[in-house]
Amino acid sequence: MLSRVAESLYWMARYMERAEDTARLINAVTLMSLDMPAGAEFGWDSLLKVAGLDQYFFDHYEEADESSVMRFLISDEKNPSSIMASITHARENTRTFREVLPWESWEWVNELYLYASKELDGNLDRRIRHEVLQGIIRRRQSIVGLLVGTMSRDPALLFLSIGRNMERADMTSRILDVSHALILPSEASDDLLWMNILKALSAYQMYRRHVSVHACSRRVIDFLLKDRSFPRTVAHCLSEISRILTGLPDPEPVLAAVSKAIATLDSADGTALAKEGLHEFVDSMQSEMNSIHNALKSRYFSLSHPAEASETATQ
């Protein structure tokens, strides 16, 4: 497997995951905003904080109202992490390695891109928005299904899986990080906040089935950080990466970085973090993930020229 191709595959999966996660997040948050009591303001800017794009947003927009924030996160080309931009990047990357994927996967990626370009254009009111974003999630899931169902467990598939898990772990930790910033009506209970965080990660149903019907802070924090069986938790993503790495040549330096991150994760205590220090802890996890990324880069991608377009899109 060419280093350049490995890196493109990794980024393609990250962009795809970013597009899907953002779509899920927006849909969950939109539903949440409908539960607001009359007169209460919903802080759409909290979505910008999740993406780490709040400052950048205000360079281009005056006010963080629903329609501006939605346009910025969904279709604005100025935002390199918008859903449209992520899908475009994913497609451009796919173009450079069509030969390592089943031939029809290009058609499906292309179809997703054509769907997004057509549907994400213009102002999306809430009803249409939900439908269109579901359409994106479904198409992206079909692509994952196609790849998993028709590809050998070769390095191409492994780099795709690593990219997907890296982006997921990143998104989960970001959402945890802004939990304190999500603006909720003062009369709302703590439970409502944590329930919505679970929903934003499509984790509510599984949490209820396997952990508790009550979404209390310490349990949700423990679940999202340390649960090994739900596919969007930080622990699950990291252990997946660790498992996948063993299928690649000489993964030791990267494995070491992953083990270190897992050790940090194991030391986390939801009860304590619920009281204080969650933000600092998430910061340290983010820096562990950066180390994993850098280890991957120097071990597998560094023989090639850096994909510069990809670099600018990592926030």
Partner: protein, 482 residues
């Protein structure tokens, strides 16, 4: 859907589907009847399905002037062109004969030059040849083959015969569109396939793979083959990627390859450096190796020529093959066939006038309004003068170009390219077309069953090049009773 023969159908030109009286030729009858039986609505919905399929499949061809858009959809015409297998077998033989002779010529010209000494080929032709490569002198590639992949452009004249228009020996493209066109037809008009025995085309990629594999410098049954592409902005990137995928080869760019001190080619992989045995390069000679050719090229691989000359990597087509892909050298191909093979050429050339020869130049200059003037080394239909449709100013410009550099120009009579019914804005109308079969040579020779039929979508136009707005058709070689 009716094919309206009375509607300005040119009667002095060979039509692939209709005879001089407007009746379908025997071979095309089943297709004709089928088209006639399909209602206009059905036909429109099939056309819409074709467009969607092309867009989704991302079958694209980049046009360089179309700035910013690297995804111009491939223009595909849904009405296939039908050719009798008995006729095709003769063409196939002719194509093999031609490529065989061309490869003998290239070896000879870079080595002993017997053909020059025997007075058959004037060496002056090569004096200013852009594609004669000093670096190739004395090289003898395996099997004596330089051009492993050749795209030969054929046209059918009003006499119903095929003529060779040119031999593309550098990096001919289009074969992936031939393969995709067949896939599209099967998907969209499966019922027509039941009416004919159409020879399959999809063994091409396996034959290409075997041709390349035979050039491997190492023993073993799974040589490492790479397709070298200039990258996603190249007009034929779709094809590079397609062929790599179909052959299970690596698609590499220049920056992925390196030639260290040991004169072997390696690619940079997640496992470190991995040796490459054969490179199917889709980059022109000029850009192939900055150590030898253009030093400013960043598409190529420094040291590639060293590795090739040391016999450590197979290169297809071999550098320097373009010496025979020259519209002046072209005029000598029939003589080459007789000289090297002692055979009569099976496929005729189009009569050609070489501006380097004084008497022929005078004829050309006196008849600029009737002839097609072509520069010796351009491809893609660029830099041509089409006499009958030219302006006075254009003819004056070409007069000066020719006098300034007579070696670089040749002229041919304007051929009446054959036509075929084609779906256009005004319904089904006649459009001119040519045919590009692909020929492979290593220790064996293969010819595609048919090839890429390119069609000029503009009314009356003779320019079929994809880079100039041409389209394409599926080409059916039909066997047996019909």
């Amino acid at each position: 859907m009716k094919i309206d023969f009375e509607n300005n159908w040119p009667k002095d030109i060979y039509d692939e589907m209709l005879d001089g009286d407007g009746n379908p030729r025997p071979i095309a009858r089943a297709l004709y009847d089928h088209l006639a039986s399909v209602g206009d609505d059905t036909f429109s919905s099939r056309l819409a399905a074709v467009d969607t399929a092309i867009l989704t499949a991302g079958i694209t061809f980049t046009v360089y002037t179309d700035s910013g858009n690297i995804d111009r959809a491939w223009p595909f015409d849904v009405i296939p062109r039908v050719i009798d297998a008995n006729e095709w077998r003769v063409v196939e033989k002719g194509l093999k004969q031609r490529l065989h002779a061309l490869n003998l010529f290239i070896t000879d010209i870079y080595n002993e030059q017997h053909i020059v000494r025997d007075g058959v080929f004037p060496i002056e032709v090569l004096k200013d040849s852009k594609n004669f490569r000093q670096a190739c002198i004395g090289v003898r590639p395996r099997f004596g083959v330089w051009a492993h992949v050749c795209g030969t452009d054929l046209v059918r004249h009003s006499d119903g015969k095929f003529y060779v228009l040119e031999d593309n020996l550098r990096v001919p493209s289009g074969v992936s569109y031939m393969l995709e066109n067949r896939q599209l037809m099967k998907r969209l008009f499966p019922e027509v396939f039941g009416r004919y025995r159409i020879l399959p085309v999809d063994n091409y990629t396996a034959q290409l793979h075997d041709t390349l594999a035979s050039l491997s410098p190492r023993e073993g049954d799974r040589p490492v083959i790479a397709v070298l592409t200039p990258g996603i902005y190249n007009s034929a990137y779709f094809e590079h990627s397609y062929l790599a995928q179909q052959m299970g080869a690596e698609l590499v760019e220049g920056m992925d390859l390196v030639v260290p001190e040991d004169d072997c080619v390696y690619m940079k992989t997640i496992d470190g450096l991995e040796r490459v045995d054969v490179i199917y390069r889709r980059i022109d000679d000029d850009f192939l190796d900055p150590e030898v050719f253009r030093p400013d090229s960043c598409l190529g691989v420094p040291g590639l020529m060293r590795a090739w000359k040391a016999g450590n990597v197979g290169l297809a087509n071999a550098p320097g093959s373009g010496v025979a892909d020259d519209k002046v050298v072209y005029a000598y191909v029939p003589r080459m066939i007789e000289y090297y093979l002692g055979e009569k050429p099976i496929l005729p050339n189009v009569p050609s006038y070489l501006c380097m020869i004084e008497s022929e130049r005078e004829y050309v200059l006196a008849n600029l309004d009737k002839l097609v003037v072509k520069p010796a080394n351009e491809s893609g239909g660029y830099g041509m003068l089409i006499g009958p449709s030219s302006t006075k100013a254009e003819r004056e410009m070409f007069r000066e170009l020719i006098l300034g550099n007579p070696r670089n120009y040749m002229a041919q009579p304007t051929l009446s390219l054959s036509t075929a019914p084609t779906f256009c804005e005004e319904g089904i109308a006649s459009r001119h077309l040519d045919l590009r079969p692909f020929v492979l040579q290593s220790n064996k020779l293969h010819v595609t069953q048919g090839g890429l039929t390119r069609v000029a979508l503009k009314k009356g136009s003779l320019v079929v090049n994809s880079s100039q707005g041409g389209g394409s058709k599926d080409t059916w070689i039909v066997e047996g009773e019909y």
